[in-house]
């Protein structure tokens, strides 16, 4: 694990060494602000609640997370730095984990920068009305976990290709599938026998379960599973470069 830290630091610093990281965060914040105030009309809804913001996040993530994850390994592959990286005394899983964790922390930072919205919601509530912080904590936890799952999917596709656009599109499509199959209107197109399974593997149902303020070990296990499977597949994908024909 000691060897993960330097790569993690280098990767995390990269987000803030280029203007791109700052632009990502700005776009994310402006988008969430616009959706919160204009699309869901916070001041017309007349409810001091953050739920609208969280309900929308999976769909914001659908494009925001692949934009982060697409370069994680594809860029290294394209410019050849992956070979340099792999010659370092590091195991493949350590490289993948360091890159994943750095992207995860970057995403969490972007998310935490929406906290001023909580202050605004608290300040705009009627006199004597106290916010229920449970669903807010649940909402942020849910958003962080879903971000982690999306990043794991994204890093997997980034490892499959040296073309960032291809990685982006494959990630968006896969994430969209994971989201859409959780909607009852889509799930009903599947045969009855697998509908429950389909709903269970969708990110949406687990997201909304935690987002309402309930931490359930089944949801935690699910998110951990998605992250583990895709990170494992990424490690195997990175290892495959060593294979000889």
């Amino acid at each position: 694990m000691k060897r993960v830290v330097p790569v993690f630091n280098r990767e995390l610093a990269q987000y803030f060494n280029t203007p791109l990281g700052f632009i990502y965060i700005d776009v994310f914040l402006l988008l969430t602000g616009f959706f919160f105030f204009e699309l869901f009309k916070y001041f017309i809804s007349e409810q001091a609640s953050m739920r609208n913001l969280f309900q929308l996040l999976p769909w914001v993530y659908l494009f925001f997370v692949p934009a982060i994850s697409m370069r994680l390994l594809a860029e290294d592959k394209k410019i050849g730095t992956v070979e340099v990286l792999m010659t370092l005394p590091l195991r493949d899983w350590e490289v993948v984990l360091a890159k994943f964790l750095a992207a995860f922390i970057f995403l969490a930072v972007a998310l935490l920068l929406t906290l001023p919205l909580v202050v605004i919601v608290a300040q705009s509530a009627a006199t004597g009305v106290k916010l229920d912080y449970g669903p807010i904590v649940g909402g942020y936890l849910s958003a962080v976990l879903m971000g982690g799952a999306f990043l794991a999917i994204g890093i997997f596709f980034s490892s499959m290709t040296d073309n960032q656009i291809v990685a982006f599109i494959l990630s968006v499509v896969t994430m969209a599938v994971f989201l859409l199959i959780g909607l009852p209107d889509i799930a009903k197109f599947f045969p009855h026998a697998i509908q429950r399974f389909i709903l269970n593997i969708s990110l949406v149902s687990h997201f909304y379960s935690v987002e309402r303020g309930v931490i359930d070990t089944r949801d935690m296990l699910y998110y951990a599973s998605v992250m583990f499977i895709f990170l494992f597949a990424t490690i195997r994908s990175v290892e495959s470069r060593k294979w000889k024909a």
Binding site: A125, D132, R212, I229, F232, R236
Partner: protein, 559 residues
């Protein structure tokens, strides 16, 4: 060849890993725990429910009839139902038997029996292989105890499933069902509809029948209130009471019966229907003896009121209607009364204020006073006669100085003194059917001068729970809470009010303040991030330039 072998080995490994993860997730469905972070733990079984099922006298059976194949829209409901029942099972030791059955496996006779009990399939539209079709879905529940049962016909239709389950268990396992009496004979609101007229309290009584026996009480020529009545409701009487009837009501209270009185100190003018005129409340004298008076006025709340459609030229807009005040927490309700616990709001259409006559109320050690509902600080009581036209100027004559909170409902709990102390017991009213010269009927019960601990609730509103107003959820909850606190304790109150609370925005926010909040929400952090990023890159480029200058100087020096 070697590469192909590695690919297949890799694929097998990934499949095995996925398999292990799926098995772990399946096991996780059986062994799990939950932490409810919400303020009132609204997604966790209430302590009252736990208390009810942990003290079951004997085995209670819950049979859930749910179709094996459910459309996706109901699968989440199914999961929530299973989770909830699992929590019931965990709290009930061995005295709760929960069984899930697929009605597809039942015989025709068994299905017919279920239909007779009220559990039926519901048709849900589904899509199967590009075709729309209708599917019969079962999702009902039967809760039984000894030879009694209660049903929840279709679980997703339940607005508060935990309340429905716990109240059903409570009702089944209680030794006797409390009886609520509704007084008749003085122009009170009816509970039972006739062939020609819908009873104004029909919806309320329909709801109350889930937990109580409802009985009309006619005092006739002065017979006592039947002993089985635990609470007597006098809903908006309009005709006078005889002394004997007042005495019977007084003695009902003295013997421990609970009394709930609703009414106003005005009536609508028969000649012009938009004019409210003075009318003494028929039980005025009796209530005054207990220390409560329904005033002859009409409540006006300029701050919190119902919005109604109004014509403004060609346009129809929603405007304030101060004659329907809305009571809301925290200032409108007491913090320590179970009746208003968790209540979001209460509509008071055309109410009268209430005054407490402290010289008639026993000292605090004998009597607890709950001021159940108060209007906002922007209220006053309008003197009669007054118009109910929404387009009038509602400002009081004294302006803002006249505005203050007004009491609308009060509950006195404790020991009462009889209003007839020191007076002769009124004789029975003449029986119109009695033969001439017949001896008047005598009372065989002695007068009770001081009551056992009991409760009197007075509400200055006639229409609080009539069929029109009870559609406001708060009004129904208020009255049900009141009945429960008087008859079966407050076990169910906590569950009934456990819904996601409304948390309104500040109604006084100006457009400028809203724009200010938006500005901070939109731009504060992005601007900060942009400044931080620009500063960082500026410093970096300066450093680069500085280093380049040093390198150039060093090179120059080397030369």
């Amino acid at each position: 060849m070697r590469k192909a072998a590695q690919i297949s080995q890799n694929t097998i490994e990934i499949i095995i890993i996925i398999g292990i993860v799926i098995v772990l997730n399946i096991l996780g469905q059986y062994f799990y725990s939950r932490l409810d972070l919400t303020e009132d733990h609204i997604y966790t079984l209430a302590s009252s429910s736990k208390e009810v099922v942990s003290s079951l006298p004997d085995l209670v059976h819950i049979k859930v009839y749910v179709s094996e194949e459910l459309p996706p829209v109901l699968q989440n409901e199914d999961q929530k139902l299973r989770d909830l029942l699992e929590e019931y099972r965990a709290s009930a030791s061995s005295k709760l038997d929960i069984l899930f059955l697929d009605p597809a496996g039942l015989s025709e006779a068994e299905t017919g029996a279920l239909n007779q009990k009220g559990i039926q399939s519901t048709q849900v539209q589904i899509t199967n292989r590009d075709e729309l079709s209708v599917q019969d879905v079962w999702m009902g529940m039967e809760i039984s105890y000894l030879d009694k049962y209660e049903v929840i016909p279709f679980v997703p239709s339940s607005q508060n499933l935990e309340y429905d389950i716990t109240s059903a268990i409570l009702k089944l396992t209680s030794d006797e069902t409390p009886t609520i009496g509704f007084l008749t004979g003085h122009g009170e609101m009816n509970t039972e509809s006739s062939q020609y007229q819908q009873a104004p309290l029909s919806k309320l009584t329909e709801q109350l029948k889930e937990l109580y026996v409802i009985q009309d009480v006619d005092l006739g020529n002065g017979t006592p209130v039947p002993d089985n009545i635990s609470t007597l409701v006098i809903a908006a009487p309009s005709q006078p009471f005889t002394d004997r009837h007042r005495y019977v009501i007084d003695q009902f209270l003295m013997r421990g019966g609970k009394l709930v009185v609703m009414g106003t100190g005005f009536e609508m003018d028969q000649m012009s229907q938009d004019q409210a005129i003075f009318k003494a409340f028929p039980l005025d004298g009796l209530l005054s003896e207990y220390g409560v008076k329904i005033n002859n006025d009409m409540l006006v709340d300029l701050q919190f009121n119902h919005k109604i459609p109004m014509s403004m030229g060609q346009l129809q807009v929603y405007g304030d209607y101060p004659l329907i005040p809305i009571i809301s927490p925290p200032d409108g309700f007491p913090s320590d009364s179970p009746v208003t616990r968790g209540l979001e709001q209460l509509f008071i259409p055309y109410g009268s204020s209430i005054t407490l006559l402290y010289d008639k109320i026993p000292p605090p050690e004998e009597m607890t006073i709950y001021e159940l509902c108060k209007t906002s600080t922007g209220s006053y009581a309008k003197t009669l006669p007054t118009s109910i036209d929404p387009n009038q100027d509602f400002m009081p004559p004294g302006g803002q100085a006249d505005l203050q909170k007004q009491l609308v409902a009060v509950q006195l709990s404790g020991i009462f003194n009889s209003a007839f102390t020191g007076q002769p017991v009124p004789v029975f009213d003449p029986d119109p059917n009695a033969a001439e010269g017949a001896i008047p009927q005598m009372d065989d019960k002695e007068m009770v001068a001081v009551s056992v601990p009991t409760s009197l609730t007075v509400i200055g509103c006639s229409t609080l729970v009539d069929d029109n107003t009870i559609v406001a959820p708060g009004n129904a909850v208020f009255f049900q809470n009141l009945m429960e606190s008087l008859n079966i304790g407050d076990k169910l109150i906590d569950i009934r009010t456990r819904t996601v609370k409304s948390r309104p925005l500040n109604p006084d926010l100006t457009p400028n303040e809203k724009n200010g909040f938006k500005f901070w929400g939109y731009f504060f952090v992005p601007i900060l991030i942009t400044i931080l990023g620009t500063g960082r890159f500026y410093l970096k480029s300066q450093r680069k330039r500085f280093m380049a200058t040093i390198h150039a100087a060093e090179k120059e020096a080397d030369k």
